[in-house]
Amino acid sequence: MSYTTHADLGGREGFGRVVPEPEGELWHAAWEPKALALTLAMGATGSWNIDASRSARETLPDYAALSYYQIWLAALARLMIERGLVTEGELAEAQVHLAPKPLARLLRAADVPAVLARGSATERPATTAARFAVGDRVRTRAGRVDHHTRLPGYAAGRVGTVERVHGTHVFADTNAQGLGEQPQWLYAVRFDGRELWGDEAQPGLSVSIDAWDDYLERV
């Protein structure tokens, strides 16, 4: 079974213009705030991590046809069904058929402000020296991988310059697969626009990504 993401949009053409939106406009349907809150509340139970939820979203077969909060809801249902927390029948009929499973945590109303203010830091104590330093030239991995990854297609197999060293962070690729945090050094790598887009690059453009050590090799 090969892994297919539908979310890797950088540099693709044909999506049309960007439609600006006033600052106070948060919702476009009455159900959207509940979709957000349900997703955050279930995320806080510790039943999956953020990388697993991104993976569940980006691999939805109808990703491109769904609105953003529809994507969130579909992925939420999928994550819960995969873990046996709910069944499709329960969601379809709005009725409980199976006994609940014990969860690691429950997000209580009184705890919401503190839980949001704490967040979930992904930096971990460094156990090795950083392989690269600011100014080093690096090439990103060119080949496909058969799992969730955070190396965008447009920046794959490209040469850039390390611009910031962010510290050691939870590795999204393994964390999404349930293989553990396996923290690695994370860098901001900057590419000249011409390296990404060739002669059609806008003059003066550069683009950076945040790349884990595994994505990089020294040039």
Partner: protein
Amino acid sequence: MAHDHHHDHDHSELGEMDLRVRALQTVLAQKGYIDPAALDVLIDTYQTKIGPRNGARVVAKAWAEPAFADWLKRDATAAIASLGYTGRQGEHMVALFDTPEEHHMVVCTLCSCYPWPVLGLPPTWYKSAPYRSRAVRDPRGVLADFGVTLPEATRIRVWDSTAEVRYLVIPKRPAGTEGLNEDELAALVTRDSMIGTGLPKRPAEAA
């Protein structure tokens, strides 16, 4: 235009989604997985407490106090936390200072990563395919969609948020703001100027 048709379609779609979300909430509450009161607190938090006015305070303070601007450059997470803005989707912050030579723009091409503690929930366009696809390739075209034209000599620097580091643009302080206090400065700071798709208001536009 087939305006009426779209209208009807949207309504039936909404009805279906409303029912689905209600069913989901019922099942999760009955199983004891969620505290329904927590949902209201979550929604209220992002509707009334955590939004782009937080970021505007950070920018205004950076404009007003060189020492705070220096702190933001060295350790944005700590400097921003000193104003009480911490946590979910802003655990690791970097501040990007615009200069006359360089303009910063932030995107998440892979999903919708965005600095929630300082900007709140991302706008729809930030999560949309047009912005995510074009920001890294055609940032000047994106700026044109927002009615912004930068000098040709200005370099454009796009930051794709592909990990858990979150970026906040500190736009250039507008001319003619020497006498303004921090509250007045914050009123000039737009959400879009902190993403890099807009510019701050000038004093005459703020009234």
